[in-house]
Point group: D2
């Protein structure tokens, strides 16, 4: 029988512990530290030989630092005899630059994918990766890749803690429809997305595609990510003006650059909730069960 | 005839300008900036198609950030049609970790070398790379690699500005002998290195291998690098106690972590001089001529 | 009647919004940003003239940056005509250095107190400030000062979310007794603190003062702060070995330096909960109601 | 007789060593370090009782961190019995914000001046402080204050190293005239400043006030500071188009934000030189002699 060891990088340790606890897997140990000159030292403290290793690390905020840490670790796992290596990157970076929009640009999304493959790993897993122009994660990677979603976990939390009953689900832009739809199924509730409508040469408004009045119902805004918070703040303003009840925000990845949280709260949101893919003040829902469930399938 | 374009990364731009000016090469342009979420945006503004590209970037201080910038750029150069790509990394990182000293360690020196090769470059050049246990740079890389030395440039500066005449050359430890020897040849002067001598079970002293008294002569300490400054400070203390005249320090790479410069000056050093491989308050000597001289050979 | 305006600094905005909403106070606006040269720009966007201003800012993590921001803002409030200025510093820094332990040390706790007073404010409020050797906050300040506690808010959350019934309360060291006592009153439950016991010249053990066996009961560790997490990890190890049920940790201020959270989870803690005095991945309890309750008294 | 002790903060240590060496003063020792939680620890290692203390610290780059370090240290010096305290702040921050340009702005230049005075120091010295709208440094401080200039030291270096003979001196804007004039006196050479001229409603050009052609003469651009380098780059472009010989840049304070140095070199400058008020890759001239000369006067 396959022996699984779970390992966490410096932005994945908290998830690794929870995966190991929940799935009753062995939890391995990695030492990561920085020398005064800025170089990273990494040691796989646990013996990984002949094991299937699940390495968990989000690549957010100190993006390049964590990317190097991840690549260094993955490259070494096989060298040390790991049988299979699953790279679980709950937050996968550089998704925006999936194309050469202007001549000469580095298409970093592809470059990162190539680097991961060359590190010799067997599979890549991620969570709510925003695929803008790439149709499917299998188009990005030559190795098996899975893109899980945490939207149901987020909805379950909102239901339990805030007792939300059939809230109106809103995706703050058209690309968010995929997540809004999942949430609306969970709540058995309607959903809509906001879109930009050009009124005249100078005037653009943001409006829901279909709905014109929320009739006092609570609204749950669902998206994959909050970065600077601009999109959400704009969405909240629009929704507030349409007779909404309480407004909540739930996203998978909360980067919350600078004072994004304060801006969103100020706009009139009741609460903001996210998962722990990226540790943030809004991290209330762990993605560990999601990964454990997926892990339970790989032995089959 | 081959057309050479010189490009500088965010820690190589100052050298690239000087190479282009000195060698009368075309100077290309790269845009590098950071998004608020920490991701790096890179665009090769100049058209590199069908050109031999010399890309210059030191990978020091924000090591992982610069490593990713370098890898992203190099990976893209060939994609955009560059004919040959010379990666000039004046300061090459992770030289310390060239072996697995303890089980499980990432041998980062090798991993970085592999990453560079996989980016598709044709040659790697560096300057005064400290090869600890790797005998020769050609053992590290499968592609052609050159390790230039800036010691003569440093000596020329010391001679011109401080009118040093036959200073006693000291390498602060045994691994510095290679640089001390070059300097002693330049000045036609003696050299020695410091070594640790065990006096008893408890007591270790640092002493020059051969010399016992400097007889009032000026001393020039030569090394490849100053990181925290500890080695140099210890060397200065030893030398001061042996009847030395003025003490100068010249190194290729001055990282000067925290208050290293103040510590060294405080120890009694007259002045500290370094090259511009890493920009630092002691950068007085450019390595551009060194690279131009080497470039002039590649067309032959 | 007195008009109160609530203002939030860059680490207090989220609390200010909640205070204003809860207490139905006017929420003012401050613009804070950095110039490329590292200088801070601050503008009080709202008119504060003739108002009683409650300025909320925690001084944690980028301690000196936030201290300067706070001092600059407070200094200017009176200049702009604010009638009364309440400086609410939920996390108050430099509490450790309240004495000159070695000759020549800066007693930074006192210096910060003096700086605040000189800024012309009327009152200082803080939350669970750890007074080590200063008996009472009124000994530190010449102006009125209040030190509120968030322990009951934390306990209420633990009870509601984790259905804790009479957990055994543990303070991880003797200085934590003050908070353990409050929690034990809330839960109507026993408490104890851990203490260092010297077994021999070489051997020190950490043990509860009184209890010898937890008999399967759940344990709630209560403290004011988690910094690197060392104290908590040690406490958890001791408690786990004494037949404890589930172990939870609740603290007011979660600084969570580096990977503190992962370390604590790894030690076997079920969950870690903190307030929002410092925004952290464990911030589940807002201190806003605490401050609103106190504010409601000042008009009386 | 008065005993002077020179002390250096974390951005002044290198100057303090040189002052002590040159003026044959006692060099004291301060320990400054950071705790993992971001708080600063400072200890005056040397005994300062009954001494006249010259404390040197530039407040640049990590501005607020260094401001707090400086204030903490100065506040403590008198407490520890120093007789007179001279705060030498070679780079003085927040000079830009010397007025309330928009309602509600913090006038940080004044606030910093007040904070320094309240720390109990006897005199403030600085170097080439850019007084924009404050006529004289004595208007800013209630205690004695001196604003020294390093322009002659810069000119002497340019003359010796680059053998500049009567270069044309250019101030890159009208506020730089004060420094250009000093340089022109040193070289016994002409000077001019650049100014913005409005050609039409849309078009503004930058041009020298008087000169129309440099007739192949070398140009030395003199200014107090390089921050992002924008002003200098624009000046170089203008000057290059007016038949200039070699162009050099000399400034007192080189902040060199991001890639400012590369931008300036790229614009066609032969070399950039600055003092060591702020440590930078262009720091070739120490301001220590300037301060020693001033110190020699205070005993008189």
């Amino acid at each position: 029988m396959r022996k699984i060891m779970v390992l966490g990088g410096s932005c994945g340790g908290h998830i690794a512990v929870r995966i190991a606890r929940l799935g009753d897997y062995e939890l391995g140990d990695i030492e990561v530290r920085k020398f005064p000159d800025g170089e990273t030292y990494i040691r796989l403290v646990s013996n990984v030989a002949d094991k299937d290793v699940v390495y968990v690390n989000s690549i957010a905020k100190d993006v390049n630092d964590l990317l190097i840490e991840t690549l260094f670790t993955l490259e070494t796992l096989k060298e040390l005899g790991a049988k299979k290596v699953y790279a679980v990157i709950p937050y996968f970076p550089y998704a925006r630059q999936d194309e050469r929009f202007n001549p000469g640009e580095v298409v970093s999304f592809n470059v990162v994918a190539r680097m991961l493959e060359r590190a010799g790993i067997d599979e890549v897993w991620t969570i709510d990766l925003h695929l803008h122009r790439v149709e499917d994660i299998s188009k990005l990677f030559k190795i098996p890749a899975r893109n899980l979603t945490a939207v149901k976990e987020l909805c379950a939390y909102m239901k339990e803690i805030y007792r939300l009953e059939k809230p109106f689900i809103i995706g703050p832009d058209e690309e968010a429809e995929q997540w809004a739809r999942v949430a609306s199924e969970y709540f058995d509730s309607e959903y809509d997305v906001l879109e930009k409508q050009r009124l005249s040469a100078e005037k653009v408004v943001v409006k829901p595609k279909h709905i014109r009045d929320f009739k006092g119902r609570d609204v749950l805004i669902i998206d994959d990510i909050i970065s600077t918070g601009g999109t959400i703040v704009e969405a909240v303003k629009v929704i507030k003006n349409m007779n909404a009840g309480d407004i909540y925000v739930a996203v998978t990845h909360a980067l919350l650059v600078k004072n994004a949280l304060t801006k969103i709260l100020k706009a009139g949101v009741k609460d903001v909730v996210s998962t722990d893919t990226v540790l943030s003040p809004t991290s209330r829902v762990t993605v560990a069960p999601l990964i454990v469930r997926e892990l339970s399938k790989i032995g089959e």
